[in-house]
């Protein structure tokens, strides 16, 4: 069964001949897509807000294409020198590159030009931020597991290319701020061993700044990288369509179905509407908030710089690593090795990107799970995975803070040097603390879920027994919630592999498989497993017994969790026994 079913109660009607059908027939006669289309038109997508984060990135990309095309109609990607003669008074008569002059022209002499520039830049920020948030969602919910590892790899490549696209893009206006960034980039290439100077001279066609880098970046930004981005986004979507979207566990949801709403009309409306919303948000930000005011920075001059020089936020963490790194450099046989630049700018981002790329495969190797997964996991139900990502986020976050250390020092009246020293230490200590804290927090949340299953939810009704003890009445959770909470795997500690199997054949990869087993056991250690049927029954019996009125009329009402119905003096104990709402026989005092 692979076609969608519907729960609709309308009888099917014969199709009337209409224009849409006519057009569709014309196309199908030539292209024959009805076989594919029939499945996709009513394709089911599950509904959750966290599934829309990738859409923010997708729609931002469309906005970037549209606004970017507008900008290319006026932008001149040339570093040839001109004297400015446009409407911005404070730069009239200044020598600048044509790229900068055309950017000023767009901002001040083209109606809507500044708006389009700003929408373009804001949605670029949104694009990359959305990719980050989407990536974190996918990781925290385990949506990268088999069969979606390839999509994860594509996603990481999209993130990398998106950042490069942003860097080449904001360098195009050739203003003081982005030019300073280019100069730093030149310093980075020079620090590469052996080939550094050659790469620098080839990139800039000679000494920095040369006159070739802006036109070359323009080609990369407008043609090469968007081409690859489009292809990868297409592939990403294609895999999503083929695999179908993952879904949260819940009533009616299994590993073998998708429950949600059909593409036509609900998802088309929601996704299409969301496109307009993302576009609208970007446009409103372009209207209200100034971004990259290049006229205030002035044209690029290698002898000028502004305080608070940072790259755009997505490059902030390598910049931070660069700032806190000590000044290590060595000379070997007349050659210079600039560790202080090579390590934080070339090695570290490469390492972080590789780790990101390999996360699904590392987890799969440790855990040894080869099944398909289409149901998501709540982050609390994968404590080690969640803690790993939080540790990575802490590391990157601290480096980001280091990238803005002068702004932090200025706004919060702190000592600039001490911020650097602090982050140098915290960058090692912080992720460890974050890992440990997050892991324990997840396990605590699992305990909370366990308590809900065994004892029900806290109803807010406080009972006081005649002996004076207070207890909160618990009520059982719904079967739907109970099912959702238990729709997860159980994990057992695996025994270490033996040196030889039962036939005496030695295990050749003994140390590796022992390591793997140990890691796997550590991965799952401490987790609170879901209760078995027997444990649940025992818990209910226990509370029922405690609450029951015994033959001699007494009850064990010690403080603790209680669930289910119980009686007190023969009346239903629901919290209203003593407030006069129900008359109690023989109790004159309480009748008022």
């Amino acid at each position: 069964m692979s076609t969608a079913t519907t729960n609709g109660k309308q009888a099917a009607r014969t199709a009337k001949p209409n224009r849409l059908a006519g057009a569709a027939t014309w196309v199908d006669d030539r292209v024959g897509l009805a076989g594919v289309a029939k499945k996709q038109v009513r394709k089911v997508f599950p509904d959750h807000w966290s599934f829309m984060l990738g859409e923010i990135a997708l729609w931002s990309f469309v906005v970037l294409l549209l606004t970017g095309t507008f900008l290319t109609l006026w932008f001149k990607p040339s570093m040839g020198e001109v004297v400015y003669n446009g409407s911005y008074d404070q730069l009239r008569g200044v020598s600048m590159s044509e790229a900068y002059a055309s950017t000023l022209h767009i901002s001040f002499d083209v109606r809507g030009g500044l708006l389009m520039r700003q929408i373009h830049h804001w949605s670029a920020m949104l694009f990359i931020a959305a990719m980050f948030v989407h990536m974190m969602r996918v990781y925290f919910t385990g949506a990268f597991r088999k069969p979606r590892e390839v999509n994860w790899v594509i996603g990481c490549l999209l993130l990398l290319l998106g950042s490069l696209e942003g860097f080449t893009g904001y360098s195009l206006p050739d203003d003081l701020l982005s030019g300073t960034g280019l100069r730093a980039a030149d310093g980075f290439t020079k620090a590469v061993p052996v080939v550094g100077t050659y790469v620098s001279f080839f990139l800039f066609d000679g000494e920095f700044p040369g006159d070739a880098v802006i036109p070359r970046f323009f080609t990369m930004h407008v043609l090469l990288i968007p081409g690859v981005l489009l292809a990868l986004i297409g592939l990403h979507m294609l895999l999503l369509v083929y695999h179908k979207h993952t879904q949260w566990p819940g009533p009616g949801r299994t590993e073998h179905n998708v429950v949600g709403y059909p593409m036509m009309p609900v998802y088309a409306a929601k996704a299409g509407g969301f496109f307009f919303i993302v576009f609208g948000v970007s446009a409103l930000m372009g209207a209200l908030f100034s971004i990259n005011p290049v006229w205030r920075y002035g044209p690029y001059d290698p002898s000028q710089v502004t305080a608070g020089s940072q790259p755009d936020w997505y490059m902030g963490w390598p910049d931070g690593a660069l700032r806190i790194f000590p000044g290590w450099e060595t000379e070997l046989f007349g050659f210079t090795l600039s560790w202080n630049i090579f390590l934080p700018i070339i090695v570290l981002p490469g390492l972080m990107f590789t780790i990101l790329l390999m996360l699904p495969f590392i987890e799969a190797w440790i855990v040894g799970d080869k099944r398909d997964h289409h149901l998501l996991q709540r982050p609390r139900n994968a404590p080690t995975r969640t803690a790993t990502m939080v540790a990575l986020m802490t590391f990157i976050g601290l480096l980001w803070a280091a990238g803005g250390n002068d702004i932090i020092a200025l706004k919060f009246d702190l000592n600039l040097n001490y911020i650097t020293y602090f982050i140098r230490v915290m960058v090692f200590v912080g992720p460890v603390i974050a890992f440990l804290l997050t892991r324990r927090w997840c396990i605590s949340l699992q305990r909370a879920d366990q308590a809900r299953l065994l004892h029900g939810y806290e109803s807010g009704i406080i009972m006081r027994s005649p002996e004076g003890a207070y207890a909160e009445k618990h009520l059982p959770i719904s079967t739907e919630e109970a099912y959702t909470l238990t729709a997860r795997d159980r994990h057992h500690e695996k025994p270490l592999p033996s040196e030889a199997d039962q036939n005496g054949v030695a295990n050749r990869k003994l140390r590796m498989s022992r390591l793997r087993t140990r890691l796997s056991n550590r991965w799952f250690s401490g987790e609170v497993e879901k209760p078995t049927r027997e444990e649940l029954d025992a818990a209910h019996e226990h509370s029922a017994h405690e609450l029951a009125v015994h033959e001699d009329g007494h009850q064990h009402l010690s403080s603790g969790d209680y669930s289910g119905d119980y009686e007190l003096d023969g009346q239903t104990a629901d919290g209203h026994q003593f407030d006069g709402r129900r008359a109690i026989e023989g109790d004159e005092l309480r009748k008022s």
């Binding site: 001040f108 372009g286 006229w295 205030r296 305080a307 940072q310 936020w313």
Partner: protein
Amino acid sequence: MRLISARLSAKRRSPLAGLVVLLLGLLVTGGLYAVLSPATAQTSQASQSTVEKGRALFLVGCASCHGKNGEGIVTKRGTQYGPPLVGVGAAAVDFQVGTGRMPMARPGAQAEKKEVVYTPEEISAMAAFVASLGPGPAIPEREAYDTSDVDNESVVRGGEFFRTNCTACHNFAAVGGALPGGKYAPSLDGVSNKHIYEALLTGPQQMPVFSNGVLKPSEKRDIIAYLNSVKEQPKYGGSNLGSYGPVAEGLFAWLVGIGSCVGFAIWIASSSVRSKKGVKA
């Protein structure tokens, strides 16, 4: 007490006698204080010249750190407590006291701009006194920093000087920047033309000196003209977000941009209101 009251006739001593003695004591103490106390900012003797008046103010408010003759005070360990003011000139006093930086409220990495304590006349008096200690830059004339009829070409040139000499510390929009060790280059927002000129001329605290021999007075005026013209220009693209550059922009992109998009997403996927009526056939 008994002895005294025994010698004095108890009947002759009025019941108010103790009170009178108390009042007398207060009056005498207060009077002595008023006569003998150091001159406050309010006391002025019209017959003194401006320099003398300045000296009097200086002794009250400045000498404890800068020495009675502005020679500076060095601590026992050899560190500078208050620097010598010989040769700093009237312009330095006009700047430091006129922006409230001096008198410094407490020691620290940097003198902060705060409420101005002295009146303009007092400031010129103190400036005259300090100028008398040794030759130094004088308070500039009005024409030096008046930018009301500066042409656009000079404004443009001022911008070029600004970007070469000033933005490295003060930032492209003159909102300030961090320096090592807890110091900072302050924002130039709300600073008067005269004070900017004087700061350039005298190099307060860590700021370098830009002497008139190298950065001519007309060039200083052009820089001030550029700053004023940029302050007056419309916010072409919307709110400046503090003019801190990409850090503020990134913050807004996340908080406002992603925040509102995620907010919308939560609304889109939320279930809408359910009806209590039965299912429609």
